[in-house]
């Protein structure tokens, strides 16, 4: 309900609010005003046509405080697939946890700090970009998030620095998350020719319930820089998750994004990028795995603003039970964006009669010299491939499981970071192939 958020906002303001510079306070104020005006979207809104947010809109979520009892490092290890040399900031119930974080040993020229610290150490950078990339004018959830701007991570990679190991922003919710909400806000800035991999993980720890994560991440990729961004959404099965990644790319920059979504009762992931310079590339891949009553929605938007850029997009999904998937992929080619080369594909495998997918790949082209294709398939397992496996002696049931796994593995293969690729492959294998 809107009112509960408005009351929450009043309460924070009355108590003086958390420490933040003046510009951030006024940003929050305009955001709450905008949120009040917009309200929660209904399915009449084109961007939310296939996803009803009523379960979120009708509940009251309290803004979460840090947990009272400790989360342990052992609980977090599996979420990093056992990797121990990642640069990690941990947030529990949306609140930065210094003890669990391990951002030490960063190379020179790399900053990885919680937002409140960034206000002190990187004031100009934060003021320059925060709220400027992910604007909330028409976006309810971004407005809501910005109104409660308080915690999150700031990543800054200075020019020509390549960070060898991934940066992990790990957001977990524990049992004390109850019916609360976390509204983290992250900022990633890569200066020219910088290169980094940033992983955003969202996970529910054992016993976490129907909490609501609403996250916004803004990323600025400078001239010739390369950002690899992996989003791993493994929230608790009763949770609600809305996450937006909004990227702005400069000349000759590259974005390689992967969104893995398997958790939450209701989730919406927005991946947006604007190719604002000549010669950019954007690769947006994703995999969603749904079961039971889950609703998993992805919306992607690639804005080709300048010429000679390419974009590649492959989203795949496997839906079982009564799961409902949504893929809405938009590619806009602006009038100046000649020689745009775009390809977008969405393939979904339905394992049960009740599972469903709404897929809507959209191309809007306003330039005349471009090469763009898009397509979507929805289907069941390929009978020819099934016969091929069976003709080699593989039992029908095993053949089905193997092809289901293979459908997912095909897109997981695109993940360059070995720990994540192999970790997700192993998890998917366990999920779809019974071990004899």
């Amino acid at each position: 309900m809107i009112e509960s958020y408005l009351r929450g906002f009043e309460r924070i303001s009355a108590s003086g609010g958390a420490t933040a510079p003046d510009w951030a306070r006024s940003l929050r104020l305009s955001a709450i005003t905008r949120f009040e005006t917009l309200g929660f979207p209904t399915t009449k809104n084109e961007d939310w046509h296939f996803t009803s947010v009523a379960p979120i809109a009708e509940r009251e979520f309290e803004l979460l405080a840090p947990p009272t009892h400790g989360v342990t490092a052992a609980q977090l290890a599996p979420l990093a697939f056992g990797a121990t040399d990642w640069h990690t900031l941990v947030f529990v119930n949306g609140r930065y946890d210094a003890k669990l974080s391990s951002a030490a040993a960063l190379p020179d020229g790399v900053t990885l700090v919680p937002l409140k610290q960034a206000y002190e150490t990187l004031p100009l950078l934060v003021e320059q970009y925060l709220g400027k990339v992910a604007t909330f004018e028409g976006q309810t959830f971004t407005a809501l998030n910005t109104a409660f701007l308080d915690d999150g991570a700031v990543v800054h990679i200075e020019k020509e620095i390549e960070v060898a190991r991934p940066i992990h922003l790990l957001f977990v919710s524990d049992t004390s998350a109850g019916a609360g909400t976390a509204q983290p806000h992250n900022l990633i800035v890569l200066d020219r020719f910088a290169k980094a991999t940033v992983i955003e993980s969202y996970a529910g720890l054992d016993g976490a319930g129907a909490y609501f994560t609403n996250v916004v991440t803004e990323a600025v990729v400078g001239d010739g820089a390369t950002l690899t961004h992996l989003k791993l959404q493994r929230e608790s099965e009763q949770a609600y998750h809305v996450g937006t990644l909004d990227v702005r790319q400069a000349r000759d920059s590259h974005l390689v994004s992967f969104s893995f979504a398997t958790g939450a009762a209701l989730s919406r992931t927005n991946i947006y990028t604007e190719l604002r310079g000549d010669g950019c590339g954007a690769t947006l891949n994703g995999l969603y795995l749904g079961d039971g009553e889950q609703h998993i929605d992805h919306q992607t938007r690639i804005e080709h603003v300048e010429p000679n850029c390419y974009s590649r997009e492959l989203y795949k999904g496997i839906l079982d039970g009564s799961a409902h998937g949504v893929f809405n992929g938009k590619v806009y080619v602006h009038p100046a964006a000649q020689k745009t080369d775009g390809k977008q594909t969405n393939n979904t495998l339905l394992l049960s009669e009740k599972a469903q997918i709404d897929t809507k790949p959209q191309l809007e082209i306003f330039a005349d010299d471009v090469k763009c294709t898009h397509g979507a398939t929805v289907g069941r397992l390929d009978e020819t491939a099934l016969f091929y496996l069976k003709s080699r002696g593989i039992a029908a049931r095993t053949a089905r499981q193997l092809l289901t796994y293979a459908f997912a593995a095909d897109v997981l293969e695109s993940i360059e970071l070995a720990e994540v690729r192999e970790g997700l492959e192993a998890a998917t294998l366990r999920r779809y192939i019974e071990q004899s």
Binding site: T384, F387, S391, G393, I394, A395, F407, A409
Partner: protein, 250 residues
């Protein structure tokens, strides 16, 4: 080993096989030739149990059992192998995983222990030499992005690993250049034993210069219109199929 009697099969409403009779004994190589649309690929697929074809009449007995009542995987476990004319691409499953899974299923069916990955790698090393394949083919997804020749060699590799009793090669020579053809033929010849048999389905006589058949059968209009020794293939090469088709009609 295999006895086909009056076999009729259809795809949808279309009858393709109209009464095939064929007997194959252990140690024999049979060539099945015929023009396009004669039903020779259908015969190969029916033997493997392809679900697109319905057998409407006749019987197939394999090692004393009713072959047609068995599911495709059971047929494979009992020693039948079909080398596909168009091997299927399976992105996301590595060749190594696929072959080990198949090999273990077949071993299980024979009451043998499953093989561990390391012993299997040794076995693959040996078998891959036979078809002159590089070991990097094992880590690639099954047939995905393989050239035509690589796909066919991969079929023969599977045959070498699974060691079938009855191998059916469905136009394995189509689309192969002469070097690939030699490699494939060498593989097939090396696997020949007194206790197994091979049916070679082909459009061209060319393959039979390398895999010498004991018997040649000509299929036309879903029936075997002529059977003979290996010389029949040479006669077909010289005279084409038309004279046989005319005789069959007459």
């Amino acid at each position: 080993m295999l006895e086909i009697k009056n076999l009729h099969a259809s795809a949808g409403d279309r009858e393709i096989l109209r009464g095939i009779d064929l007997t194959v004994n252990a140690g024999e190589v049979h060539a099945v030739m015929g023009p396009n649309g004669s039903g020779k690929s259908t015969l190969a697929q029916v033997l493997a149990g392809h679900p697109a074809y319905e057998v409407t009449e006749g019987s197939v007995t394999y090692e004393g059992q009713d072959l047609l009542s068995l599911d495709p995987e059971i047929r494979a476990q009992q020693g039948i192998f079909l080398a596909f004319q168009y091997p299927v691409e399976i992105p996301g499953v590595s060749n190594a995983y696929f072959m080990r899974a198949a090999y273990n299923e077949i071993r299980k069916a024979r009451g043998e222990e499953e093989i561990d990955p390391i012993s299997f790698a040794d076995l693959m090393d040996e078998k891959m030499k036979l078809v002159e394949m590089d070991s990097d083919m094992l880590s690639r997804s099954v047939n995905t992005g393989f050239s035509g020749g690589e796909k066919k060699r991969n079929e023969i590799l599977q045959m070498a690993v699974l060691e079938p009793k009855l191998a059916v090669l469905d136009e394995t020579d189509s689309g192969l250049d002469i070097d690939a053809l030699r490699i494939v033929a060498h593989g097939v010849n090396s696997l020949k034993r007194p206790d197994n048999a091979t049916i070679v389905v082909t459009h061209y006589q060319r393959l039979l210069n390398y895999i010498v058949p004991d018997y040649v059968h000509v299929l036309a209009g879903g029936r075997i219109v002529r059977s003979g020794g290996k010389d029949l293939a040479l006669e077909l090469e010289a005279k084409g199929y038309d004279w046989l088709l005319e005789e069959a009609v007459a």
